[in-house]
Each structure stands twice: as C-alpha cells, then as structure tokens.
C-alpha cells in the first residue's frame, strides 16, 4: 500500500520534471543553465510534495512558477550556487522530506504512523482508531493499520519506549553537564526524584486515557515487552545516578526503584490536585522511605557486628575465668 502511494508520488514528480525540461530554456533569459533549471524544479517539487498540491497541468503555468521561484532565488544567489554544488542531481529523488534516503524501511514507516497516531489518543484512546487516524494524516489509507499485528499494544509500547529514550537523552545531557563541570552532581535521592518526576510528566498529555494504556501493558502478550522497557528505564536511571555496584545491591536498588515508579504511576493516574502536587509529594515520601531503609539496614549490620564482637569477647573472658584457656 505504502509502495503504491510512493509510486504515484514518483509519477507526479516525473511529470513535473518533464514539463519543466520541455520549457524552452532559450526563451528564459534569466535561466543560465540546465542545472539551474533542474534545481528550481527540484525546489518547486519539494514544496509540491510537502503541501501535496496537484501538479501544474499546463506548461505555461509551469513556466510562470519557474520564473517566480527563480526570481525569488535571485535575491540570494550565493546560497543556491553553494547548494547546487553540494547536491547537483539527487534532489529530485527527494520524497516527502526524507533527507536523501532512497526509501524508508517498514520500521521507520511504522514509527512515523505511530508518532502521528499519538495526537489522536486523547480523542480515540489507545486503539486502532487512533492509529488509523494517524495514518490518514500522513496521507496513507487507514488500511495501513494492518501492519500493526499487536494493535493498540504497538501504540502503547512505542510511546513507552519513546518516553524512555527521551529520558535517557535528558539524563545523558545532565551527566555531560556535570562532567564538564557546568553543573553540580545531585544527591542520589534528589536525582532519583527528578528523574522519576521527569519521566512521569511525559504521561500528562495522555493522563485521561493512561489507565487504559496501563491495562494494555498488562495483557499477557505485552508483559515481556513492558517488563523489558521498565527494566531498561530503571537501569538507565540508576546508571546515571552513579550506581556501579556489582553485587546484590544491583538487584535491590533496581527492585526498590521499580516499586517506587510503579506505585507513583498508580497514584498519578487518580490524582486530581493542581499540577499533580500530591503525586510528587507521594514520590518524595517513598524515596525517603527507601533511603531510611538503606540507612537502617546499614545500622543493623554494624550493630550486629558489634554485638558479635562483644559476645566473642565475653566468651573469651569466661574461658579465662574458668581456666579453660590454660595450656596444660
């Protein structure tokens, strides 16, 4: 289906190109060479494919438009010359703004459709209707939703992984700032709080329908993927928070953060305070709990060690007192 549409568009661009080439260059005093002509046509074709207007049917109209783009161009003659040199003949292969790629893979097309579909989620919820509406804004038939075997699950999983990559970019940027000395390293608790808050704020535009999305993620065939996204999210956050542990702490830290994230997400879904202030307070409290627990665990361990030492000392003293320690 997508290939058919691309073929139609290619046909349109070829027709446009032919009509330009057939216009006599000698009649146009301003057009100095054939390459300029093709370049002008290419610019016009780019505009045309972006706005999806029907191609000019008569050569005279073509001629006028050709003049117009060319005269507009005369104002900045240096730039076109430079541009010409860098992309001489390939610009007429440009299709719908794909920066020089010859074609896009199915995966890229799916990503584009799902991105467009996100706009319609507030209206249609996380469903095939939203995907169909998104496909239609890209001038594809709504039957292209047949590509998505998992239906709404695909949309939700795409959104989740998109948000996770955004968060990773933000955290990497912050990390770079710290390494360059332009920012202070945050305390772990603050870092975790900010990271979780940033990530959960990405749900705000879709918060009305988020319970539906959560339930879709809990469907049995989606659970492996949603768990994978959750684990990469939590691993990324801890990595940027500075965790480099290689023992059981690796597991306990991630388990704790997963618990915090999931419970905060649930709180957020039914929060009605302004700007979700209740949710952020809840998050603060949970993180404080974990920090307290870690501190308590450490205290318990050192107390235990001290007690063992005390007991061993007491046993030794007893042995001395009863004379068991003497060498006979």
């Amino acid at each position: 289906m997508a290939a058919l549409l691309r073929g139609l568009r290619a046909g349109r661009t070829l027709r446009g190109l032919c009509s330009v080439v057939s216009a006599p260059p000698a009649a146009n005093p301003q057009c100095s060479g054939l390459t300029r002509g093709i370049h002008c046509a290419a610019l016009r074709l780019q505009d045309e494919s972006k706005s999806d207007k029907p191609p000019p049917s008569s050569s005279s109209t073509t001629h006028h438009e050709h003049y117009q783009t060319h005269s507009a161009e005369q104002a900045s003659t240096s730039d076109p010359a430079a541009e010409e040199a860098s992309r001489p003949n390939t610009s007429y292969q440009d299709q719908s703004g794909e920066q020089g790629e010859e074609y896009e893979t199915e995966e890229q097309l799916q990503v584009r459709i799902l991105n467009a579909a996100l706009e319609f989620v507030p209206l249609h919820g996380w469903s095939m209707e939203a995907i169909a509406a998104g496909a239609e804004t890209l001038d594809l038939s709504s039957a292209s939703t047949g590509m998505f075997y998992n239906g709404a699950g695909d949309l939700v999983l795409h959104f989740v992984s998109h948000c996770n990559s955004q968060l990773t970019e933000i955290l990497a940027e912050q990390h770079k700032q710290v390494q360059l000395g332009q920012a202070e390293q945050k305390r772990t608790a603050d870092f975790l709080r900010d990271a979780v808050e940033t990530r959960l704020r990405m749900h705000i535009p879709y918060i009305e329908s988020w319970p539906q999305a959560m339930s879709i993620l809990l469907l049995p065939h989606n659970i492996p993927n949603s768990l994978k996204h959750l684990s990469t999210l939590v691993d990324d956050i801890w990595f940027y928070a500075g965790d480099r542990s290689t023992d059981m702490n690796w597991y306990t830290k991630r388990a704790a953060l997963t618990g915090i994230y999931n419970t905060t997400e649930l709180v957020m879904v039914q929060d009605s305070s302004t700007d979700f202030q209740d949710t952020w307070n809840f998050l603060d409290n949970r993180i404080q709990d974990v920090v307290n627990m870690a501190g308590t665990a450490k205290q318990v361990q050192s107390t235990g060690e001290a007690v063992v030492q005390g007991l061993m000392g007491a046993a030794f003293t007893l042995k001395n007192l009863t004379g068991l320690n003497q060498k006979r």
Partner: protein, 211 residues
C-alpha cells in the same frame, strides 16, 4: 544510506548503551558492542567470569578460615590475594559496561565458603586438591572463552583477551600447578574428589551464564 542518520537510528544508537561517552577512561577493555547479540555474548562471558572470581575468592576465604594459622596459611593467602585482584578487575569491567551481575551471588558466597572450609578440614592435601580441581575448571573455562573470542574476531577483542583472559588464565594455571606441587594428589580418593569439584564448577558456570 550510511551518511544520513534519521531520528530512529539515533534512538536505536542510544538504546545500544555502549560505553561511548560515559567512560571517563581513555581506553576500555571492551570495544563498544556492534549490536545487541554481541552485547549479550559479552555480557554472558563477563557475568560468568565475575561469578567465577567471586566464588574463587570465597573458596580461598573458607580455606583460610580453617588452615589460616597452619603452615600452608601464607601460601593460601598469596593465592587469595591474586584472586582478589582478579575480582577487582572484573568489578571494574562490569561497572563500566553496565553488565548485570549474576543473581546467584549470595549462593556462590555461601557455597564457595563451605566448599573451601570443608576441603580444608580434610587437611592440607584436601585443600590443595580442591584448589587443583577448581583452578583446572576455571582455566578450561577461560580457554574456551579465548577460543570463542579468537574465532569471532581476534583483533576486536585483543584488549579483553590480553588482560582478562590470558593474564588471568595464566595466574589460574599457576595456582593449579602450585596445588599439584603441594601434594594435592596424595590424598586418598583424589580422583573422586576432583571429579566432584569439577562437575560442581561446570554446573556453576552453566547456571551463572544464564541467571
């Protein structure tokens, strides 16, 4: 197509969380992984190596707990110190490459200590027999890793091969020979003991690769 990077490819590159801009060291023992398959293979190798060194550390700790004050104490202490260095190196590599440590670490903690202590209770020869068996399994394991990496792409993994595998494997072989020198074979039932230890090690390696 190679000269244009669309947003999808950038995202995919970000998903492949190699140590690109995150490592502050100029060099890294591992090359940044090309794809998720390679990352998984390297992850598995490093995970089991780390678990192995951790276990060996605990085995020597067990042996020292029993034989620490005997004549063989200093010898075991020396071998233990070398294992500690190996473990430190692997901790570094794991942290740098964001490899998940095996979830069975507490199990190896206890099992290793019990193994070391129980073998030391059989006397000096018992401890040496345990050392010989364990070091033999570990050397065998490192050798098969070296073979696998050389088969794939020796140049890509030279650092890893040199530092972790060849150096450490040589150390382990040295421990093995030390064990043999110190009358490991004189213990009655040596072959049976050795068989049991090596089978246990193989099972541990297999499980640690996956869990």
């Amino acid at each position: 197509m190679s000269n244009c990077i669309g947003p999808v490819m950038i995202r995919q590159c970000l998903k492949c969380r190699g140590p690109l801009q995150l490592s502050s060291r100029a060099y890294s023992v591992l090359p940044p992984p090309r794809d998720s398959e390679e990352k998984e293979m390297l992850d598995r190798m490093l995970r089991v190596d780390h678990a192995g060194e951790y276990g060996a550390n605990r085995i020597y700790a067990g042996q020292m707990a029993v034989l620490g004050r005997s004549r063989t104490g200093p010898l075991i202490q020396e071998m233990w110190d070398q294992e500690k260095k190996h473990l430190e190196k692997f901790n570094e590599i794991l942290a740098e490459n964001r490899v998940r440590p095996t979830a069975l670490l507490p199990l190896w903690n206890i099992a290793g200590f019990v193994l070391g202590a129980s073998s030391a209770l059989l006397g000096k020869e018992g401890a040496m027999a345990c050392t010989v068996a364990v070091e033999e399994s570990i050397s065998e394991h490192y050798n098969s890793q070296i073979r696998a990496l050389m088969e794939k792409d020796p140049e890509r993994y030279t650092e890893l091969l040199q530092v972790s595998n060849k150096e450490f494997r040589d150390d382990e072989m040295e421990h093995h020979d030390t064990g043999l020198e110190h009358d490991a074979e004189s213990i009655p039932g040596y072959w049976l003991l050795k068989k049991r230890y090596t089978t246990g090690c193989k099972a541990a390696i297999y499980v640690s690769q996956r869990v």
